[in-house]
Point group: C2
Chain length 199, copies 2
Amino acid sequence: MSDIDERHEARMKRKKDVVDQAIAAARVERGVLVVNTGTGKGKSSAAFGVVARALGHGMKVGVVQFIKGRSDTGEEAFFRRQPDVQWHVSGEGFTWETQNRARDVATAEAAWDQARALLRDPAIGLVVLDELNIALKYHYLDVATVIADLAARPAMQHVIVTGRAAPPELVEVADTVTDMTMVKHAFKAGVKAMPGLEW
Amino acid sequence: MSDIDERHEARMKRKKDVVDQAIAAARVERGVLVVNTGTGKGKSSAAFGVVARALGHGMKVGVVQFIKGRSDTGEEAFFRRQPDVQWHVSGEGFTWETQNRARDVATAEAAWDQARALLRDPAIGLVVLDELNIALKYHYLDVATVIADLAARPAMQHVIVTGRAAPPELVEVADTVTDMTMVKHAFKAGVKAMPGLEW
């Protein structure tokens, strides 16, 4: 065996020990609250990837989209065809499209009613609250109410909240938080938002 | 109209102008090379969410998984049921499981042959190269060869590369790069990797 192969083997043995110990230490089984925030790509698509993952395990999934960007997205077309997915879209466009705060508040409250119904249903294994952080950022919804409803959900239900600028109160109670940090973006280099990739 | 509503309307009008100008400036239509890296959650699941998105637009998708963590993931079960998805898994486990560099190199090279076939097929609209960054990090594959094959792909084909520690040469040629930055992770708080969420 060559030197490089031996060093590799020793390094990977040490790594395996560390990984095995971490796996042995993680024993709790429960629903997890995930927050995907930041200004980079992948906050919503990571949630939709987990939807596919959950469906592969035979789970039922509920999705509420709080800010409707467009009505012809690939993810909506695809997941509406899946019998185990409930897909709710609310809102009339990005908040800079409506330019009407009172209407945005009413729309967000109606969407939260739909979210709450999912959060009270133990048959739903995964709830995605897409762009909820935007509704919280603009104070269309009360963050304390949202957190109380999240805390009261079924013990084994997973929730993924997406959107830039997650409020600190939500980050505090979440289990797993990722900041999707933009390194670079094709859009800034003049590439159109491409169907099948961006929407 | 109240003060807060007026300020909101003015703010959103300004925001709409900025957004509209950016959309007007982005005119190029072509395949985009995306890299999802970093130590946080969501690198692979964001890619799988885009798979769903592409399928919703009627595109064909190819996935190559370079590092096979486990054989019973929800995403694999779900997407193997989709007629427009080609799903290739290579590797015999995380690299710290095999502890055999020569075998890992041979496995990565065989996986790259599968990737190259997808990258030469204009009928494939989206190619996901899952955990390719790991194979590059350990020098199982030559980064210059990988970049040359990516550059030679069909003009409208999108590619998503995932895995922590993306090599700088790949970041340099990519169009959209996101660093999934870990803020916190349930696993570190003792929660098991949950089916339907983590795998």
